[in-house]
């Protein structure tokens, strides 16, 4: 099983490398642009995105009461994902073709509505959590020690 997966993987990698070489060989501009997108992803993620996410999660854990950790972190995560999906629709430095029926919604409004729904849901969950906690006898409401990304 392992050997089969490994061999299949290597074969796909070799074929991909051949296709990529063919692609890069045809044009210097395409080669460096392609390479920039290939290397840029992991670089930006590891150096910028992950530390920011970790830092934000750490701060939220420190600043928020325990009942609010999970809903606020979940809402923040959903907001970030929605924002990522909205970027290409909202920010287009080189323009987009005018095609009737395509990318013609009000994406700022859409993003606003989706984010609002997420945070209203988080608020409801947080309030219910708090209410449940206050209903429980004190010895059962003990929380775990906070962690930097416990959601």
């Amino acid at each position: 099983m392992r050997a089969a997966l490994f061999t299949l993987g290597l074969a796909a990698l070799a074929w991909g490398a051949y296709l990529a070489w063919d692609f890069a060989h045809a044009s210097f501009r395409d080669a460096w642009q392609g390479a920039a997108f290939f290397i840029g992803g992991p670089l930006v993620h590891d150096a910028v995105v992950a530390p920011v996410v970790g830092g934000a999660a750490y701060l939220l854990t420190r600043l928020l009461p325990p009942t609010w950790h999970a809903p606020v972190k979940a809402a923040a995560t959903c907001t970030a994902v929605l924002a990522i999906l909205a970027v290409p629709l909202i920010w287009h430095p080189f323009g987009v073709p005018t095609n009737p029926g395509l990318h013609d919604r009000d994406y700022w409004a859409g993003l606003g509505i989706a984010v609002a729904v997420v945070w209203v849901a988080a608020a409801v969950v947080g309030l219910v959590n708090g209410w449940r906690r206050s209903e429980q006898p004190p010895n059962q409401s003990k929380q775990r020690a906070p962690t930097e990304m416990g959601s």
Partner: protein, 355 residues
Amino acid sequence: MTRFASPAHDERVTSRVGRWLGIAFAVCFLTGLLSHGIQHPPSWFTWPSSPVWLYRVTQGLHVISGIAAIPLLLAKLWSVYPKLFERPLVRSALHALERGSILVLSGAAFFELITGLFNVAQNYLWGFYFPTAHYAVAWIAIGSVLVHVAVKLPVIRRALAPPGVDADRRRFLRTTWLATGVAVVATAGVTVPLLRRVSVLAWRSTVDLPVNRTAAAAAIEVPADWHLEVVDGEDVHRFTLDQLNALPQATEELPIACVEGWSASAVWGGVRVAELLRQCGIAPGVDVRVSSLEKSGLYSTSTLPGTHTGDRRTLLALRVADQPLTPDHGYPCRVIAPTRPGVLQTKWVTRLEVL
């Protein structure tokens, strides 16, 4: 010294997120391969003409699994982030190879998701031809996924054994599934009719039948003496628009399903391609090259395979929604065949040639 105390970094979390990320990538790869095969068919490849919604579903799955992979990839990378700081950086040649393969995996995964996401928005941050690059890197991505799974298989098996309950681990996983669900619901309305109004970040509108290339963009000028040529070797048959309208007319409800994942169903009216071929003494079921008034460009011609010319639902459409085609929808006539990518539903048709 960096400390990562969260249970999010536990191998049981990594494996569970990884399993779904692997499934998303596999679906993306296979549906992408199908779409590539339909557009560049090798001699052994055939694509059916039934059910009519097949390409709509496979290409819809392609973009939806790609969208789902975005939060899954970020969660997976967060889960393994502490490994980036492991020291020594390299323990052995094999270890170096493993770390290198993960860089390739991560680079390919980001490349596919970023270029795919911007491409569906027709937002071209790059100068290169997207399909070639996206297709080449897809092989690198799936290859490095397979190698990675092979290398990690013992860890995966151990980690996927029924876990002891841990509230924090479970919370991280639930947040991941929730964010993935939110991403899918926010976009899947591009192809899922029920979600059309709910998906606020869908790249197609709520009402119109979208147009991916306007007559103006394709520089189309329909000559006053326009006619359709049907060519079979030395035989050339010509039809004016009035003559096409005088032939037996048919109506079919067929979706336009774009490579960019959106789809829209419409009621098309016109002449069945099979009927048109018969009128010219040609037996349906032959491959036909369709040429457009568009002079240049990758999609100025397409090959309609025999499977589709033989299918009675394939139309040379003259109308949509009971109205004559507008220039943007392909006036004077266009091909509309079941379960084909939109780019192959050639518009502004001027010639059909039996191959």
